[in-house]
């Protein structure tokens, strides 16, 4: 079947629009973070495991509306999408930045819709799932990350990830469009299988969520360093950067939720790949470089999960392991696809 050139061109236009929207969103998040009221660290700390000194009996009824457990202060652990924070009545000087923050979320959604349209039109133009080469992978990966970010914002306070997530997303899309781009084309015969939908989708979703977790981990490392240095009374650089972040326990927990969600999906992706390899090549595991690096990624994130359950390895050390895991994903995506040949060389670059 011939490639529909009109739709392919539409896809290129839409992705350009998506990049612009994401960039504007990034700017908005950055402004909100830099000039906004910041995150009420004390209020977010009440989400930790702590003894509650006093108790308000009537809060059961009052807070049932926002489905929270009764708490002393109005806890800001509330859905963040509309940008309405149940914060204590703060001064009006932060109203503008709060609006900018809300607009940043809206721009993210717009960019998400545009990118989704780009992926859809690309897929329609080649009559197949648009996950066949590195350009399309990058689009799908960033789409998965932003989706995970948006979903996370509906379940907990996560707007703080905006700056650290949008930056790599915009960079990755820029790289995709400028360097990785290939014109729309059909797939090689080895990829003609419904396993493409299963295996590659799972890998993309898991990687996208890992990216969100990595953003939270980077923020955690910064916040942790600042907390340690200020506890020791030592001066530390980039204090403004650290002060704009929520409590490091919140960051740690957000990162953990991302990794705990993505890890089973990654496991499933590796297994689905093995099942597909069995159908296509006769062996479910041949230590092909891409398979091996997917396995290495799996082992490193398994190490992260073990570290969180091991004395002396929680916190900073576990965060380093998670960063290493992200490094293996990057290596798998760029180096293995482009420089190392194997059965998996469908980079199309």
């Amino acid at each position: 079947m011939a490639v529909d050139v009109g739709l392919a061109r539409l896809s290129n236009d839409l992705i350009a629009g998506g990049i612009v929207a994401y960039s504007v969103a990034f700017l908005g998040f950055a402004l909100d973070a830099a000039f906004g009221e910041g995150f009420d660290k004390k209020a977010s700390a009440t989400a930790k495991l702590a003894a509650v000194p006093a108790q308000v009996p009537a809060l059961v009824g009052a807070s049932a509306a926002d489905s929270l457990p009764p708490r002393t202060t109005p806890a800001p652990v509330v859905a963040d999408v509309a940008g309405v924070v149940a914060a204590p009545a703060s001064s009006d000087k932060f109203k503008l930045t709060r609006r900018i923050g809300a607009l940043a979320v809206v721009c993210t959604v717009i960019g998400w819709l545009l990118e989704g349209g780009a992926i859809l039109s690309r897929g329609l133009s080649v009559h197949r799932l648009p996950w066949g080469n590195m350009y399309e992978f990058t689009m799908a990966l960033t789409f998965a990350s932003v989706t995970a970010f948006l979903v996370l914002m509906t379940r907990q306070r996560a707007r703080f990830l905006g700056v650290f997530l949008m930056a790599p997303v915009v960079l990755a899309l820029g790289l995709a469009v400028l360097v990785l781009y290939v014109p729309a084309a059909p797939l090689m015969p080895a990829l003609h299988s419904y396993w493409l939908a299963i295996h590659v989708t799972a890998a993309i979703v898991a990687s996208g969520v890992f990216i969100v977790g990595t953003a939270a981990t980077v923020m955690f490392l910064i916040a942790d360093r600042y907390a340690l240095a200020s506890a020791a009374g030592k001066p530390v650089r980039f204090t403004a950067l650290a002060r704009m972040m929520p409590d490091r326990d919140v960051l740690d927990r957000t990162a953990y939720r991302a990794y705990a969600f993505a890890f089973p999906i990654w496991t499933f992706a590796v297994i689905a790949g093995a099942i597909w390899a069995e159908y296509a090549w006769g062996h479910y595991w041949q230590w092909d470089p891409k398979e091996t690096w997917a396995f290495i990624t799996w082992v490193v994130y398994a190490g992260y999960l073990h570290a969180r359950a091991t004395a002396g390895w929680r916190g900073r050390k576990a965060a380093y392991i998670a960063m290493l895991g992200f490094g293996t994903i990057l290596f798998n995506f760029f180096v293995v696809n482009i420089f190392i040949s194997g059965l998996h060389s469908y980079a199309g670059v």
């Binding site: 509650v52 939720r257 969600f261 296509a280 004395a311 002396g312 194997g342």
Partner: protein
């Protein structure tokens, strides 16, 4: 049942919390050791015990996991002997003459079959087994224990609430008990409280995951011992029978009975490859299909089947997969003494190009042996820059073969095995070189004979495997995914309800709960749902009721 109050201060509370945690220094409630113990005592037994305790500690597991990941890295970067292209190892030797033997000695050209890699994963699995099996026993015992008693001060729990109600304490507690049990909590009714807990499935999932990994290892071992794998190159109109002789390469497991292989056979009738024409993917493969007629055994009727890349032939536990494909040019060679040789020889694809290289050896030619090296070009054309013949498209639109003919000693009698696909010309002289189209004949000088390029057939390579451990591995990995989801999604949580008459004489209902810190968030919602349901059963009265009804 008597109600035991736990004297609660902050320490006891954190002890209560830490019972759900796995981070303390001492072995956790599952008996999992955290750190490697300090140096062993003097006796051999204590050294062994120290070694075993160290091996099965969490920190050792972490280290072994990292070693496993690290050890896999060279296996993916350096060419591997067991991999898809073992020739690259020889190429590596050619380009790195001093480094390559050192790497080989270290086993880096066969990482995944090497002793040290096996040592790492075997140690990891021993550590896993030594940790998980006792933990399973303890979990089994813990599952049968009842939920712990309520702390004295429920209001000090991380999530808690209380209200007054008109119901009697007994009624309130009875309804709470019923409600919690309907929500699938394990709930016990004590004298003045209901003790509930939930989430044992988390540990069950965790153990299921780790035990399934052990089963995966068993499955892999089964395949390597009872299974076999082989490959064969079959020309069009040729056949294959599943016996060890017919295979080009065959690796059986240790306990495979090579005389009792499944007796199927097939004939390759036609191989069809289609390619993209025009557009950005010009020349990319579109489809490969091997049309075969096969029979499961000698007496069965032959049936037709098409083997394609994602579509193997399955019979009697054995699968036949389509691997590579290529062309087999058909030559008729006459030697100097008038003998005729009719040869159709498979030519192998050269990666990175569209040409296929091969060799025809004629040891019976007289007066001297003849050898022909050639490369087959499916769509021949002259490279405008170099003037060399090359192929510009993988389909046979304009086939041609470029040959060099040699005469002399093929070197087949010196006792050293030779590859079928290479020609040793050290003892031969070149007679002629030319390009032939189908039907062309090259006449050799000095009456040495002639070579006619008649045409070509296609060939297909098949990978044939028998994998008895496969269903075991498949079942086990499904169990790992299930166990993983359970262990990461479910939290252990405990919930207590206490009802008693306070100083004012009214019934005070207190509800409090506790969960692991890692996965909080969902528990708050669940707690709220429990409270709401409880309040429906034992409605709050007084001022609270007004605001409660607003909600």
């Amino acid at each position: 049942m008597s109600d035991t109050h736990i004297d609660v201060d902050d320490n006891a509370l954190s002890a209560e919390v830490s019972k759900l945690d796995t981070i303390p220094e001492a072995p956790d409630e599952y008996g999992t050791r955290q750190r490697v113990l300090r140096t062993p005592g003097g006796s051999a037994l204590s050294v062994l015990r120290w070694a075993w305790y160290s091996l099965t500690s969490m920190r050792t597991a972490l280290i072994l996991l990292f070693l496993l990941a690290l050890a896999s890295v060279p296996g993916s970067i350096l060419p591997q002997r067991g991999g898809s292209d073992p020739l690259r190892v020889s190429e590596y030797y050619a380009t790195h003459p001093t480094l390559a033997p050192i790497l080989d000695r270290l086993g880096l050209f066969n990482v995944f079959g090497s002793v040290w890699f096996a040592a790492i994963y075997l140690l990891l699995f021993i550590s896993l087994a030594g940790c998980v099996l006792p933990r399973s026993r303890r979990h089994f015992k813990a599952m049968r224990q009842r939920p712990p008693a309520a702390p004295r001060n429920i209001s000090r729990l991380p999530v808690s609430t209380s209200w007054h109600t008109d119901e009697s304490p007994d009624d309130a507690l009875a309804r709470a008990h019923e409600l919690l049990r309907s929500k699938r909590f394990r709930a016990d009714r004590a004298a003045s409280s209901v003790n509930a807990e939930k989430g044992h499935l988390r540990e069950t999932g965790n153990l299921l995951f780790h035990l399934s990994l052990l089963v995966v290892l068993v499955g892999i071992a089964m395949t390597s011992v009872f299974g076999f794998t082989g490959s064969v190159l079959v020309k069009e109109h040729d056949g294959f029978t599943d016996t060890t002789i017919d295979y080009d390469s065959f690796s059986p497991g240790r306990f495979v009975n090579i005389d009792k292989l499944p007796p199927f056979s097939f004939t390759l009738n036609k191989f069809q490859a289609t390619f993209q024409r025009g557009g950005p993917a010009n020349g990319d493969a579109d489809s490969f299909a091997a049309h075969v007629s096969w029979q499961p055994n000698l007496t069965a009727k032959s049936r037709d089947y098409t083997i394609e890349v994602n579509h193997p032939l399955s019979t009697q536990g054995t699968n036949v997969y389509l691997g590579g494909h290529g062309y087999a040019p058909h030559f008729i060679v006459r030697d100097g003494s008038g003998n005729t040789f009719d040869e159709t020889v498979p030519f192998l694809p050269q990666p990175g190009t569209s040409q296929y290289n091969g060799v025809v050896k004629l040891p019976d030619a007289k007066p001297s042996q003849l050898g022909v090296t050639g490369f087959f070009l499916p769509t021949a054309s002259k490279n405008p820059v170099t003037g060399m013949p090359t192929s510009i498209f993988p389909a046979p639109d304009n086939p041609a073969v470029v040959i060099g003919v040699f005469s002399g000693d093929l070197g087949l009698n010196n006792g050293i095995p030779q590859s079928v696909y290479t020609l040793d010309t050290s003892k031969m002289t070149r007679l002629a070189t030319t390009t032939l189209r189908p039907g062309d004949t090259l006449t050799l000088p000095n009456g040495a004979g002639s070579v006619t390029f008649v045409g070509y057939d296609q060939w297909a390579a098949f990978n044939i495997t028998h994998d008895p451990g496969k269903p075991v591995v498949f079942g086990a990995v499904c169990a790992t995914v299930l166990g993983l989801v359970l262990s990461l999604a479910i939290r252990r949580r405990r919930l207590w309800v206490r009802a008693g008459r306070d100083e004012s004489g009214r019934t005070l209902v207190e509800v409090g709960g506790l969960t692991r810190t890692d996965a909080s968030g969902g528990f708050d919602d669940e707690f709220q749902r429990v409270v709401t349901a409880l309040q429906a059963a034992a409605p709050p009265t007084g001022q609270e009721s007004a605001s409660a009804r607003q909600a």
